[in-house]
């Protein structure tokens, strides 16, 4: 199979499995899903990382830490959508999950300083606007220098 076709197949499997379950799959689960060797999946993980479409878990390349907008680990940005709970990597990605799934969603987040509960909601393809703000601490040219911090 051509490299690009395989990368597309793996990428779609990651997102389809995540959308279905709320949990980002690992390389073994993807291997079984699309019936290819796990080492091929790991090679594709590397290519998708190079394209900035995926971040493997530091120290464990079989796990996916981020398949933006989805997080492979629980975060401060849980998103309820389609009867499932997902985790977003940041406030941008909390909206990103609703955008990717094309559905209503609610994220019970909190103020980054005070911890006060703040809710983000998307209904009928639009955000329920509130006077909250997102702070971008890292300039665009450096988001992938340390994506977990970003």
């Amino acid at each position: 199979m051509p490299k690009d076709d395989l990368a597309t197949k793996v990428k779609l499997a990651i997102y389809e499995m995540t959308a279905e379950t709320g949990r980002v799959p690992n390389s073994s689960e993807i291997s079984r899903r699309i019936d290819i060797e796990e080492n091929e999946v790991l090679t594709v993980f590397g290519r998708l990382h190079a394209k900035r479409l995926l971040l493997p878990e530091p120290g464990d390349p079989r796990q996916i830490r981020m398949a933006p907008p989805f997080s492979g680990v629980p975060t401060a940005f849980p998103v309820e959508a389609n009867g499932k709970r997902y985790y977003a990597n940041c406030v941008w990605d909390a909206y990103g999950i609703a955008a990717a799934l094309h559905c209503d969603a609610i994220s019970r987040a909190s103020d980054g300083h005070t911890g006060e509960p703040l809710t983000l909601e998307v209904k009928a393809g639009a955000p329920v606007l509130k006077p909250y703000v997102a702070h971008f601490a890292v300039p665009a040219g450096h988001w992938w220098d340390d994506l977990i911090f970003t």
């Binding site: 933006p68 955008a99 990717a100 103020d111 980054g112 005070t114 703000v133 997102a134 702070h135 040219g141």
Partner: protein
């Protein structure tokens, strides 16, 4: 990228962590960014925007200057 109730709590957070205050984005802008980046993420065609496309998207939302330029080294 964190969420804050107001500019005031952003300033408090920056002071507490000794992090420079950087640009703020309101929820409408943030939603538009999410749609640009992720609306086709579950499709065969999905890809990350190129650097030039990013600048165009940011500019269309009023997010301008070197902070929003993926190719800028000014912030190093």
């Amino acid at each position: 990228m964190l969420l804050f109730r107001s500019e005031e709590t952003v300033n408090q957070w920056c002071a507490a962590h000794n992090i420079p205050r950087r640009p703020l984005v309101d929820l409408e802008q943030l939603w538009q960014l999410a749609v640009h980046w992720y609306a086709n993420r579950l499709t065969v065609e999905s890809r990350r925007p190129t650097s030039d496309e990013m600048v165009s998207i940011f500019n269309s939302l009023g997010l301008t200057g070197p902070f929003w330029d993926p190719k800028s080294d000014e912030w190093r």
